[in-house]
């Protein structure tokens, strides 16, 4: 069995940051990602990121991915990476099962940083399984990674940041966006994203939802309806919108499976999007040597994933007896960055959620 000092699961912004952080401290890192490219969801983000310069603000997502990937090449101690490597098992006796292309490998790890990210939520409506009805991430993958249009006429469901941003990216790719539908009375995401759409004449329709999709082999139209203040469809307000793709952007939920399998204490925290491992301030789970960062620890932003990942990497290095030479300074700076990112009105939910998932533990 292969011996690994630090296994990092997931090569998105959190995993890449954790791996770089730990590698800088002299830890031997193996990072596994199930995709054929590193960067997680960043590789498909064409918009410029928010936050501060410490979190790569004003840089387009896919360039941040490249920068983070480059940071793995720590002089003298580069992190090793495996792509097309799905960690299918994480066992309490510190063994990981990895499906690497068509080989199943078992490895023993001394510490692990779990950054598997999140999965798309689904929206229940009649015929929601028709081809052409896809998640927002799927639309971005198709367009921005493969250069393939998802369709020619899209209805966007969901007005959170993802829905608003992807609607804009659809326009940039040359796709008609018929409307952005939002079930609640208010737009969910940043108003600057909504304003970018409004000025192009794209209707954002609040208190509107999809009743059903129609089509034979793929979606050809949706029937939408107004909702009342109790979220019920208002009879008589049905309207048909012709489309060939529906993009569902109704939120993400943490991928909890590996943390639970490894024996970490988990908790259902709605503000964080679902099941998350309980973490202390060093981002360690209840399993010593098992750390967690990124969307798997709570749905947030890439900026928070980067900061949380760096913190988890520092903690893993310290756990392994190889603390980063600037551990306390970096730790304090990262903790401050996270606090500032979360301190505005949009951070209220995260703060509430993080408080529920945080425990005091001897780090």
């Amino acid at each position: 069995m292969k011996d690994v000092e630090l296994l990092v699961v997931g090569g998105g912004p959190a995993g890449l940051s954790a791996a770089a952080s730990a590698a800088e401290a002299g830890v031997n890192v193996l990072l596994c990602d199930r995709s054929f490219r590193l960067g997680g969801q960043l590789i498909k983000q064409t918009h410029k990121f928010f936050g501060s310069e410490k979190q790569h603000a004003k840089t387009r997502g896919f360039r941040i991915a490249a920068e983070l990937e480059a940071s793995l090449a720590v002089p003298g101690n580069p992190a090793e990476t495996w792509t097309e490597a799905t960690v299918v098992g994480l066992y309490p006796d510190r063994v990981a099962g990895v499906l690497h292309r068509d080989r199943y490998e078992k490895m023993r790890f001394r510490a692990c940083v779990l950054c598997p990210g999140a999965g798309e939520r689904y929206l229940a409506f009649e015929n929601n399984d028709l081809p052409g009805i896809v998640g927002a991430g799927a639309v971005q993958t198709l367009m921005n990674v493969h250069g393939v249009l998802p369709g020619k006429k899209v209805v966007m469901v969901g007005s959170g940041n993802i829905g608003l941003i992807v609607a804009y990216q659809l326009l940039q790719a040359g796709v008609r966006v018929e409307a952005v539908l939002e079930a609640s009375p208010k737009i969910g995401g940043y108003k600057v994203h909504a304003a970018k759409l409004a000025r192009l004449g794209i209707p954002i329709r609040t208190q509107t939802s999809v009743l059903r999709a129609e089509g034979s082999d793929h979606v050809e139209r949706v029937v939408v309806s107004a909702l009342d203040s109790a979220w019920n469809p208002v009879p008589g307000t049905e309207e048909t919108i012709e489309c060939d793709a529906v993009c569902v952007a109704v939120g993400l939920t943490p991928l909890h499976q590996l943390a639970a399998m490894a024996g970490a204490e988990m908790k259902y925290v709605p503000e964080l999007g679902g099941m998350v491992p309980l973490l202390d301030s060093a981002r360690e789970t209840s399993v010593p040597g098992l750390f967690c960062a990124g969307d798997a620890s709570g749905i947030e932003e890439a900026s928070a994933a980067i900061v949380g990942g760096r913190l988890a990497g520092l903690s893993a290095a310290r756990y392994l007896g190889k603390p980063h030479p600037e551990d306390s300074r970096l730790r304090e700076d990262l903790t401050t960055q996270l606090r500032i990112l979360r301190s505005g009105p949009f951070g209220a939910k995260i703060r509430a959620g993080a408080a529920k998932a945080e425990v005091e533990r001897h780090a």
Binding site: F50, S52, K58, R63, K191, V192, A195, R199, L341, G347
Partner: protein, 159 residues
């Protein structure tokens, strides 16, 4: 209404406009109406004219006297929420970000639109340049009759 359809009210728009008397030179209009954690406008302004501070959630505030209208903030704002405005005789002249194809050419006449996407009339494209540090964002310098000073926000290619 901003929260329902992404369109700010005329009052909200006026609240972030510098006084007209200062518009002999181009000045930035920071249409950032919400507190979100973000500060590239502040950190990239070469004149130090934008203030956010330690808490990056604070809304940016423009010191219009320091602003030189260079347009760097227009190109770096991740929300594409900034434009510059100036008054030149009968015209209002704007610098706006542009991230679509086709890209207009200098001398083209496109259609100016307001924040709801409604047409305002002809918009003359005076200049097209790459935004400095803007990574494929273009800056369009556009002029319209000055009556559209508070309405104009972007352009659309004519048929």
């Amino acid at each position: 209404m901003l929260e329902k359809n992404g369109i700010p009210t005329p009052e909200q728009v006026k609240s972030v406009f510098p006084p007209e008397a200062l518009l002999v030179r181009a000045k930035a209009v920071l249409e950032c109406y919400e507190e979100i954690p973000c500060n590239p406008c502040e950190t990239n302004c070469p004149a130090g004219a934008i203030h956010i501070g330690e808490d990056i959630n604070a809304r940016p505030v423009l010191d219009a006297k320091k602003c030189t209208g260079c347009g760097i903030c227009v190109g770096v704002c991740p929300g594409l929420a900034i434009l510059t405005v100036s008054l030149k005789g009968e015209d209002a002249v704007f610098q706006i970000p542009w991230e679509f194809l086709p890209v207009p050419k200098e001398g083209d006449v496109w259609i100016g639109t307001d924040r709801a996407g409604r047409p305002l009339g002809d918009a003359k494209i005076l200049r097209v340049r790459d935004a400095k540090g803007g990574d494929r964002t273009r800056i369009l310098t556009v002029s319209l009759p000055r009556q559209h000073l508070y309405d104009f926000v972007t352009v659309r290619c004519p048929e």
